[in-house]
């Protein structure tokens, strides 16, 4: 179990950006996507893809700075994401809960979500998962450390729910493949 402290250290180690600039930039991007694609479902998909591309790059940055050891099981991975990953890149922490019986599926409940300050979804965009980029980031990052996952929003306050909850589901551990054989 990772204590809260490593997260704080990692947070202090990275460069920070003004929260409002960040929120407005993200907002402008989502808006532009909506204008370009004109379809909420398509925008959800795009956000996820963008997140995925961020995630596969971000994981190396994370591993080199966060000072974490190899996770022995998926439960530990979820904790590291919630307590260190979120803290390092978003400045917030999440709570891990709702494990299923064989510990392959859990919920990450965000204590606070800096992406949605000021945001109010208009009626024409009710199907939008505004923060879908986060799903992609986690999926991409975990894929680079050989875990295939599925990440979805379970609850979203912008859509009238009472919390921000990500559902994280482990599909399989992908065995690491080496490009050469031992006896070559």
């Amino acid at each position: 179990m990772a204590p809260a402290k490593p997260g704080d250290a990692a947070f202090a180690n990275v460069d920070h950006v003004n929260a409002e600039l960040f929120t407005l930039t993200y907002g402008a991007m989502v808006r532009q996507l909506l204008t370009d694609f004109e379809d909420v479902e398509e925008v959800n998909k795009q956000l996820d893809t963008m997140g995925y591309n961020i995630g596969i790059r971000l994981i190396d940055d994370f591993l080199s700075k966060a000072n974490v050891t190899r996770c022995s099981e998926f439960r530990e991975t979820a904790d590291v994401i919630a307590k260190i990953g979120f803290k390092m890149f978003l400045g917030v922490t999440a709570t891990v809960s709702n494990w299923n019986a064989d510990f392959t599926e859990c919920s990450l409940v965000l204590d606070d979500n800096p992406l949605v300050d000021f945001v109010e979804l208009p009626e024409t965009c009710q199907g939008l998962y505004y923060c879908n980029v986060l799903c992609g980031v986690i999926r991409g990052a975990l894929e680079m450390v050989s875990m295939r996952t599925e990440v979805k929003w379970a609850r979203d306050m912008l859509r009238g729910d009472d919390a921000y909850e990500l559902r994280l589901k482990l599909i399989e551990h992908v065995a690491e493949e080496y490009p050469y054989k031992d006896d070559d």
Binding site: E20, T23, G27, A28, E120
Partner: protein
């Protein structure tokens, strides 16, 4: 009692109007707010001519009428806030605080990426927040 608050954009286009008087007085308030716009221009041009640096956005009492008073506040981007009240004795400080909080709420609603600047504000969240600000008026 605060009867009505309104926001008017740069081109004197109405952005927002909320009435607290009950009944169908909205039209009347549109009229009152519309009338106050001339006073805004007048005050602003006086300030410009005398070279007073408008560090303070609060313009004070715009005009009194028989049963209400109209106060104004103009941001540096020339968005105008108007307050219509039936209280005839009010402290300027209270009104100033009110406008500052109202301004803060306006800034937040315009920061919403889905809000188009220069368009009417139709956010229910903003409506509720203004209601809270109005109901806590004078209690600070």
């Amino acid at each position: 009692m605060i009867l009505c608050v309104a926001i008017v954009g740069q081109q004197n286009n109405p952005l927002y109007l909320q009435s607290f008087a009950g009944g169908d007085d909205v039209l009347k308030f549109h009229y009152i707010v519309h009338c106050s716009l001339d006073v805004f221009d007048e005050k602003a041009s006086i300030l410009r001519r005398t070279g007073t640096n408008l560090n303070d956005n609060f313009l004070g009492l715009l005009y009194p009428a028989e049963d209400y008073k109209v106060y104004g506040y103009m941001t540096n981007t020339r968005v105008k806030f108007v307050l219509v009240t039936s209280d005839l004795e009010l402290k300027d400080l209270d009104i100033k605080t009110f406008f500052q909080r109202f301004h803060a709420a306006y800034i937040d609603v315009t920061s919403n990426p889905f809000h188009v600047p220069g368009k009417r504000i139709a956010s229910p969240m903003f409506r509720d927040r203004v209601k809270t600000i109005v109901s806590s008026f004078g209690q600070l």
